[in-house]
Symmetry: C2
Subunit: 408 residues, 2 copies
């Protein structure tokens, strides 16, 4: 009964918005997702029992979307009416997650049609994260464990007090994938919903928790859209370069203004700002910043909009890169009145109990038989085989050498 | 924290289907609902603390429909796509239940626009029922209380075993209003969903429990539709008589085939069968039987369809009058192959722990300034002022004298 994932809605909302586009456009494209563990000096195998991991992953494969899950998704209207179509909801009703491969050294991969493999990322990460921290807790005394939870509450209290000094600062929980535990994420979200006004704590990306607490399910889109489509449009340099803008077009075609927040750093934000055209800049509500220096990014975004004679104050930046409350307040103070700002707060929100954080991702590494690439505005977050990275650097004119190790 | 009603979805599904029609068609019609307690020899005041009742009713007035409640209703598609319109969902979002009047002798009434008073019935009944049984429990020893719950489980086990002898017998939980307690209803429904196949236990009328367990929210419609509209179309005998068929027309206009199960006994089923015309008999999926002798009713229904050259085997009867498992099995054995049968199982399902049942209703007694009438196929269930009952008997040609006291 010790399930980590207890419902297929225990995932990020954008898995469904992306999942629907993939289902409708690229259902049978073969892809490969792989776990990448980025924390130096930690060997996951020392902390996670492979059989337990296998057990938890297998449990997820036995879950199905139930009637109420589908009611909830069908009834989602925060980003536009009927955003999920009946054929997609039928597909979800019958979805069984594909099998995975897991080695004793904890190489974890998911291969198969993009339309079914896409869902594994968040479940797998939350399971690994929770098993890792369970492992740490199991080596502690009862009192040491008590202190961990006490520390988590004290830190949450400190966050809330600081946030109350900036009532105009808004944010959402984006912390499903690297949370301390399912129960702790739920506790955090419930507490924030009780302690802060709805005008400040806007919602959570976790669909199950949003449903359970009547909150808004929050989401944008992820790098995998760009990476997957680069493999599908793979060919000449020009075709690969064009695939970036195709993602923007496709997304807008499906969701219109409601979900028009563009992720900017897959091939570096400099390329992004060259690639997004005036019409798109006008139509899209805003941008998501997920790597590199957020202050520099904010200034670039303001210049970008000014360059098109668009008032930056009508546009929104969603900051989501390893935020903590001090950074959130600084960003808010820096940009308020100049461009709209909100925060997608992840690991430091849902996994801040005094234990060292770990950094890991599950990334789309191959699409349609081609290796994929992501640079970010921070090369420590780059994904891709060296030869692919070199080719994509030329294609996208990526010349930054900035690299800073990831805490999360 | 001892709330009986913990969510505004803790009600019967048909409150929303009826509520929407009322909202769209008769929003401002003034109505009066009143509690009628029908169990001889029991004085509610001896068992229920008026202040506690007031406290629980006041708590309900503080609840609001949250985002997820509305997602769920918006996503309901079991009876047709988009059955709840956005203007109705907006209305629910802002709904605050109107005030009530409650005397020390426990006369409880709800007066105001039909569109907001309609929701009180089920909340009020479940609260009174749970307070009554809490009162009985409070006078027992710990062991006596243990035995109550043990008895409830033994009886449920017996029901399930008997139902397994008839895998083709289908039923739903209709027992919200007179349940032993909220928690006990949830336990019953959860257990049935685990122990019986979904082809036999079809769902529950309780929207919150349906949502929590991924079940189908079940519902038809209630007497109050006929009663309310009789007051709105009040005038000549002919106008009052016509109001019955207007309800059928209105309901079909709003919900079409999906929800086309007609309640048959408001003015007696003999009148009903005279009033439903051939086209309606063909269009509507079936009938609900809620009073009188169900075997006689079933034979009448078969003759009714045969009279229109409609194959009764294509039509459905929903039995819902004080069912127990023996009656359900007898009805199933009697009618299988001749006409389709399913059961809406109420008090004997959700309140069968060995304590004496109580019989009570909250009924619409006045609409648009006129007293309303309901005969049922059992005069012990009749509602109305004597002079109104006499007039309506003539209008509807009601000549039955059958009366049998109600257990529930």
């Amino acid at each position: 009964m010790d399930y980590i994932i207890q419902s297929l809605l225990d995932t990020d909302f954008y898995k469904f918005t992306m999942g629907q586009v993939v289902f409708k456009e690229f259902r049978d494209v073969h892809v490969r997702y792989a776990l990448r563990f980025r924390t130096k000096g930690v060997n996951l195998v020392d902390h996670i029992d492979i059989d337990e991991l296998r057990y938890q992953l297998d449990l997820v494969r036995h879950f199905r979307f139930n009637n109420s899950d589908l009611h909830y998704l069908r009834g989602t209207n925060e980003y536009g009416e009927r955003m999920f179509s009946e054929d997609y909801l039928d597909f979800l009703r019958n979805l069984e997650l594909p099998d995975y491969t897991l080695s004793d050294s904890l190489d974890l991969e998911f291969r198969g049609p993009w339309s079914t493999t896409i869902y594994w990322e968040t479940y797998a990460l939350s399971i690994i994260s929770e098993l890792y921290y369970r492992g740490l807790l199991s080596k502690m005394s009862d009192f040491e464990r008590d202190v961990i939870f006490a520390q988590g509450k004290v830190r949450l209290d400190d966050k809330i007090k600081k946030l109350r000094t900036r009532p105009g600062l808004t944010f959402s929980d984006f912390g499903t994938r690297r949370r301390f535990s399912r129960a702790w994420q739920e506790y955090i979200v419930k507490t924030l919903a009780e302690e802060l006004p709805i005008s400040q704590f806007l919602g959570t990306s976790n669909v199950q928790i949003a449903m359970d607490y009547g909150l808004v399910p929050m989401g944008t889109s992820a790098h995998e859209m760009y990476m997957g489509i680069s493999g599908i449009m793979h060919g000449s340099d020009d075709e690969i370069r064009r695939s970036h803008n195709e993602v923007l077009k496709l997304w807008y075609k499906h969701y219109g203004k409601g979900l028009s927040i563009a992720l900017t750093d897959t091939y570096g934000s400099d390329f992004f700002f060259r690639d997004m055209n005036r019409e798109q800049a006008e139509l899209w509500r805003g941008l998501r910043q997920d790597s590199g220096n957020p202050y520099i990014f904010g200034e670039k975004a303001i210049r970008f909009y000014n360059g098109y004679d668009i008032d930056p104050a009508t546009k929104l930046i969603v900051f989501s890169d390893g935020l903590d409350v001090v950074t959130m307040i600084n960003l808010y103070d820096t940009f308020t009145g100049r461009i709209q700002v909100t925060d997608g707060w992840g690991t430091n929100l849902t996994n801040d109990l005094g234990l060292p954080p770990i950094s890991m991702v599950v990334k789309l590494i191959e699409s349609n038989g081609h290796g994929t690439v992501k640079f970010s505005d921070n090369l420590a977050k780059a994904i891709g085989k060296p030869e692919d990275i070199e080719r994509f650097k030329k294609i996208f004119g990526y010349d930054s050498t900035y690299s800073a190790s990831c805490t999360y």
